[in-house]
Each structure stands twice: as structure tokens, then as C-alpha cells.
Amino acid sequence: MKKSTLLRVGAIAVSFAFVTAACGSDNDSSSSDTVVTADTAAAAGVTCNSVSIAFFGALSGDAGNLGKNIRAGADLAVSEFNTANPGCQVGLVDFDSQGDPAQAPALAQKAIADKSILGIVGPAFSGESKAADPLFDAAGLALITPSATNEALNDNNWKVFHRALAGDDKQGPGIATYISKTLAAAKVGVIDDASEYGKGLADIVKTTLGAAVVASDSIDPKAADFSAAVSKMKAAAPDAIFYGGYYAEAGKLAKQLRDAGVTATLVFGDGVKDQGYIDAAGPAADGSIITCTCADGASNAEFAAAYTAKFPGETPQTYGAEAYDAAKAFLAAIAAGKTDRAGVLEFLGTYDAAGVTKQIKWDATGEVAGNAVYAYKVDAGKIVSLGLIK
């Protein structure tokens, strides 16, 4: 008898330790960024209590840089708002998905459970969007993704879905135009990483280019060796190679292609538009073409100046400006006195304001107006803008 009591006490003690540990780390991850305070000095501007928006996407992992860019853009918008409205301090809560669709649903549940969150800037990638968006939709929690461009995402009739940039149905034909017109490539090779985003975009490029595609393959992004795909491209000797995927694998692939003596122009989509690609590929990245439906944030002087003031020594990176616009839309809803999720969602439907990147106005499916695709080029270790693809 005595022994079993002891056991029971022990079990309770252990489980208590686990619970406190779990709570401890929980607070730890969000408290640093969540500033949910009922500020006493409500002097000017809007007043509100315990409201926040959330960032959802990869802050660590292979494509972590893209998430950090997005978070920075949202962070800038939130801190500008908080400075202007001392009576309404909006928090920014991070949900680091590592870009992994398998982790996304659990994180989405966590975000939904936090009642102070009125909107999601994200999910950043298409794969995790597919996994998390149905949950957000069921909970009626509005989301604006500044980067998930997969064409099929808006086919799901999710009420909460909004995009701050044009989707891959616009980007894919843009890439195809660039390859066939500007590069005048007669033979094209297409490779994808079998991800929601990468394969989706590569398939659109393939269909648009048609018979010009002489070789295609998929790679496993987790593997280190892409020699089968590289051999195929080498044998087919295309003038240009398009890869649909993210920057870390693009770097490895570019290097292996160049090592094998493939001289084709390398063309990538928005997932590769990051300095991480150049770090990974080194000199092999030179001359690569990268397209994006995202605008060059640095070219908007006012935004770039505010960004550098907030993050000294840094300039706006890929998706930063889109994230800023997305966060602005949510903050406008809060400023308009919407303090519940339904109100915010309704507000987005009628939102129509000039953003940093474009006029932000959504149609019924959540697609933003406009279909601009921009081209960028890697030149001497830097990504430089080539302007709109016509």
C-alpha cells in the first residue's frame, strides 16, 4: 500500500514538473515578442486592449531567411502602429513552422487558441498553407500570406484566405515569357523539388513552354546528391534550366550543374530570391535569373528608410514589403475598431488602400489585384532588379 502511494505521489510530481516545464518554454517563446499591455497612458489615437497579430512561417530551418524577412516587415508595421497609438499596443506573436507542413497544423491550433490574435501574416509557404489554412478557415481567423504563391491555394473556397502578391498562375507564365522571349532559349530543362510550391510552379512553366521543354526531373530536397538530374540536363544540353523550389537546394543544384559543365542559364522562382542562394552556390550563382511577383521593397525610398531605421544596417528583403502591407491591413482593421476575428475578416473584404508594393484590394477569392511579375539577376554576388517582365 505504502509503495503505491509513494508511486502515485512521484507520478504527480513528475507530471507537474513536465507541465511547468512545458508552460515555461511556452511563455518563453512568445512573451519576448508579445507586448499585450493595457497601457495606462492612452493619450492619442485608437484604444484597444489585448490584441495581437501573428507571424506564421519558417524562422529557422532551410528556408528560414524568407520567414525572417516577412517577420521583419510585419514587425516594422506593428511598431509604427504602436508608436502612433500609445493607447493600443498590438502584439506580434511568432509561430515558427520551420516551413514544415507536418508541423503547421499543431501550430495553427496554438494560434487559434490564443484569443488575442486577430489575424495571421502567413503562412509563408504553400505546403504549410495547405496544411494550416483549413484550420484557420474553420476558426474564422483571417490570414494574409505575403509569400505563398501556389496557384491551387485559392481553389478551396477558404473565406479567410488572402494573398498580398500575385500567385503562381501569374508567375509561371511570366517565367515562361522571360525564358522564351528575353533569353530566347530554344531548349529548356525543368527541375522541381516535388514540393507543393516547387512542383506547382514548375508544372505551369512546363505547360506554358510546351515543346521547348527537352528534359525534366524531380529532386529530393533532403538529399545532398542530385547527380541523376544533373546528368540528364547535361545530356539534353538545354539553353536554360528552370528550377522550382527553395533557395538552399537551388544553391546545391546550381553548384552541381556548373561542376558538371552545364552552361545553361539558370532560372528560378520567388523561393530562391534570397542571399542564402548566393551563399550556398558561391560563384556558381552568377548570372542566374530569379523571378518574383514580389516588388523590390528597397526601391520604395520611404519604406526602405523606415526599414533601415528600425533594423540598422539592413535593407528590405524578399517579401518584406508584402508582409508590411499585410500587417498594415490588419492594423487598419484594429484602428477601425474591429476587435474580434469576424470583424477583422469582414473589414478585409472591403479594404482598399495604397500599399508599399501595390494597391491592396482583394477579390472574392482573396487574390490581390494586379499581375506584375518582376525579374531579378544575380550579379557579382548580389541580387539586382531587372524590372517588370513584359
Binding site: G64, A215, S218, D220, D259, D279, G282, P283
Partner: protein, 374 residues
């Protein structure tokens, strides 16, 4: 369209397949050696490989001070200097991987065999105290301090537990292996300067084409990998077959109890076995960074699974089997992905394994480290 591509890429695929297969084979040797001696699948061996790649990176950048880029170009070296750098990286990888394998054995497996010693107790005690510290503190410094203070009493407790000399059930070794593997990868992911992102290693060897074979460029890095792997494997075979210690390894593999009665120091032999596996993985790691110039906290995972497959394919416990298994796997992956597309690469590898095991349940060459002829 597919057919002519296969025809034209056949030799290309063969060369890259053999090179990748050599790396698989070297790592597979570690699985096979430990299995032969302990009947244990050392799942943490993939992390020994990962440690080797980082050792190579640290040797090149921190010790030798090589830059990633020089004026926008790769820091290519030639002649004697190049050889010196490559040898230094190889030694660095082998030493750290070997040491890692030995430490792993002492801390994660030896206590379970009922012969734990002070070293194992101290390592385990530190890890325990550190993890307990995570519950109460959340700064690295206080954690570390708590870990160090806690090590003493906990180590003493572990040591008195070890003295009972009880052998743990077989399953416990497996759990210990998986736990050690996770702990090592996460430690690198959390404390590494680049978190979970990939690291680049400086490229000192210009990947020139040495000669043409059947119309295919044979690159210098592939030649180094294939020749290096063959040399290392020959050295290992000679060691196991010709030396006194090698005889001890074979004796323990054959029958632990009899070997003990005949005066073989079993714990030492096991240590040597882990060391050999670690050194081979270190060599593989250096060659891996030579070809791919990159590494990552979980680089060992997929490669480890593949190498383990290679070991089973060739006959686990059999050194020559590991070599054959590695080559067969490397080649079939390459041919298979060219035939069916890259997304089928892993499927092909595992279907091949299933088919081979259906007809030859002990692998291509059978399990035979225990036999006198290795």
C-alpha cells in the same frame, strides 16, 4: 525521349553512382562492424558521420583559416598546399569522428552492458543535470553551471548503479542509440552558429576533368573519393584479418564468452570496433564535403539510412558486403532515378532491398564477420 537520355547518361550515372556508393560503403562499414561484434544496430552512427563533416569544416576554416570566397572566387589551392589541406581535413575528420564514436560507446552503450565506468558516468551525469537544469533556468550560462555542479553527485549515483553490473535488455540499446542520435543532432542544431541552416565548406579543390572514359568526364573529386574509399577499406580488411587486435575483433564477433575465457579484453575490443567505424565514417565525411562542399545538422540522417540499407543489402556483419552493398545501392539509385524520375530514388533503393532480402535473407554476401574469413 527517356530512352536516348538514359543511353547518353549511362556512364555519367555510373561514375557518380560509384562515387556516392563509396561514401555509403565507408559509412556502412561502421554499422556492420558494430553489428558483427555487438549484434547492435548503432543508429547514432549517422551522427558520427555528421560530426566528421563538421570537423572537416572546422579544420578548413578555423584551424587553417581558409576563406569561403577569395575576391568572389572559390579559394582554389594547388600542388603541395592542396594535398596538405586535404590531409589535414582528413585527419581532423577521422580524429573527431573516431573520438565521437568512442565517447558514444562509453556513454551510451557500455553502461547498458553492465560495465559502465567513470567516463560514462560523468558524461551521463552531466547530460542529466543539464536537462534537469532546463526545467528551472532558461539562460545557457545558468544551465551549464547547474549541469557542472550537478554532475558530481549524479555521477556518483550512476557509478554505484553501474557497480551492480546488470546487463540491460537488448531493446534498451536500441532506444539508447536513437536517443543519442537525436541528442547529438539537436545539440548541433541548437548551438551551431547557423541553427538549422546548411553550412558551406570552403572549396579548395578545383573540380577539373582528369580524363574521358566512354565519352564521360571523369572529375578529380570523384577519383579521389573512389580511390580513397578503396584504400581505406583495404587497410581495414588488413587490420581485421592480419593483426592481433583484429583477431580479437573476430573472436568477440564469433563468441563473446569464449573470447572472454581465452583472455580477450572484450570491452577494449568493442572500443576498438567503434573507433574503427568512427574513423571510416570520418574519412567518408571528409570526402563528402570535398564533393558537395556543404553540411548540416541532419546531414547524417538520410545518408545513415542509406548506408544502413547498404550494410543490410551486402549482408550486415560482413565487411566486403558493406562495400558491395554501397556500390549496388549508389548505382541502382542513380540508374533508377534516371529511368523513373528523381522522386522515385528512395523507392527504388528500398524495393531493391526487399527483393534481395526475399531471395537472400542474409544479404548478398551473407553475415560473416563471425567466420574466420571476413
Amino acid at each position: 525521349m527517356r530512352d536516348w537520355l538514359i543511353y547518353r547518361t549511362f556512364w555519367d550515372l555510373t561514375v557518380t553512382g560509384v562515387a556516392l556508393g563509396s561514401i555509403y560503403a565507408l559509412v556502412a562499414l561502421g554499422y556492420t562492424l558494430v553489428y558483427g561484434v555487438l549484434r547492435l544496430i548503432n543508429f547514432a552512427h549517422s551522427e558520427i558521420f555528421m560530426i566528421g563533416t563538421f570537423a572537416s569544416l572546422i579544420t578548413a576554416t578555423n584551424v587553417l583559416g581558409l576563406p569561403m570566397l577569395e575576391a568572389g572566387k572559390y579559394p582554389y589551392r594547388t600542388g603541395f598546399q592542396l594535398i596538405l589541406i586535404l590531409v589535414a581535413c582528413l585527419v581532423g575528420s577521422m580524429v573527431l569522428s573516431g573520438a565521437g564514436a568512442v565517447a558514444l560507446e562509453r556513454a551510451a552503450y557500455r553502461p547498458l552492458r553492465g560495465s559502465g565506468d567513470q567516463f560514462g558516468a560523468v558524461v551521463l551525469a552531466f547530460v542529466t543535470a543539464f536537462v534537469v537544469g532546463l526545467i528551472f533556468f532558461n539562460t545557457p550560462k545558468s544551465n551549464l553551471l547547474f549541469g557542472i555542479i550537478g554532475t558530481g553527485p549524479i555521477a556518483w549515483m550512476y557509478l554505484s548503479l553501474f557497480r551492480r553490473g546488470r546487463q540491460a535488455p537488448r531493446l534498451a540499446f536500441l532506444i539508447s542509440a536513437i536517443g543519442a542520435s537525436t541528442a547529438i543532432t539537436e545539440a548541433v542544431a541548437i548551438w551551431g552558429p547557423r541553427d538549422r541552416e546548411q553550412y558551406q565548406t570552403p572549396r579548395v579543390l578545383e573540380k577539373k576533368t582528369l580524363f574521358k572514359l566512354f565519352g564521360t568526364d571523369i572529375r578529380i573529386d570523384y577519383v579521389i573519393v573512389i580511390v580513397g574509399a578503396l584504400l581505406m577499406m583495404t587497410a581495414l580488411l588488413l587490420f581485421v584479418n592480419r593483426t592481433r587486435l583484429g583477431r580479437g575483433v573476430r573472436a568477440v564477433a564469433q563468441d563473446v564468452e569464449t573470447a572472454k575465457i581465452l583472455g580477450v579484453n572484450v570491452d577494449f575490443v568493442i572500443l576498438v570496433t567503434f573507433l574503427l567505424g568512427g574513423v571510416m565514417a570520418g574519412g567518408a565525411a571528409m570526402m563528402f564535403t570535398l564533393v558537395y562542399d556543404q553540411t548540416k545538422f541532419n546531414i547524417g540522417f538520410l545518408l545513415g539510412v542509406k548506408s544502413f540499407t547498404a550494410a543490410v543489402l551486402g549482408g550486415i556483419g560482413n565487411l566486403r558486403g558493406a562495400l558491395l552493398g554501397g556500390m549496388v545501392l549508389g548505382l541502382s539509385e542513380n540508374y533508377g532515378s534516371a529511368l523513373f524520375g528523381g522522386q522515385w530514388k528512395d523507392v527504388i533503393a528500398f524495393v531493391l532491398l526487399l527483393v534481395v532480402l526475399m531471395f537472400r535473407p542474409t544479404g548478398l554476401l551473407g553475415e560473416s564477420l563471425a567466420k574466420a574469413r571476413v
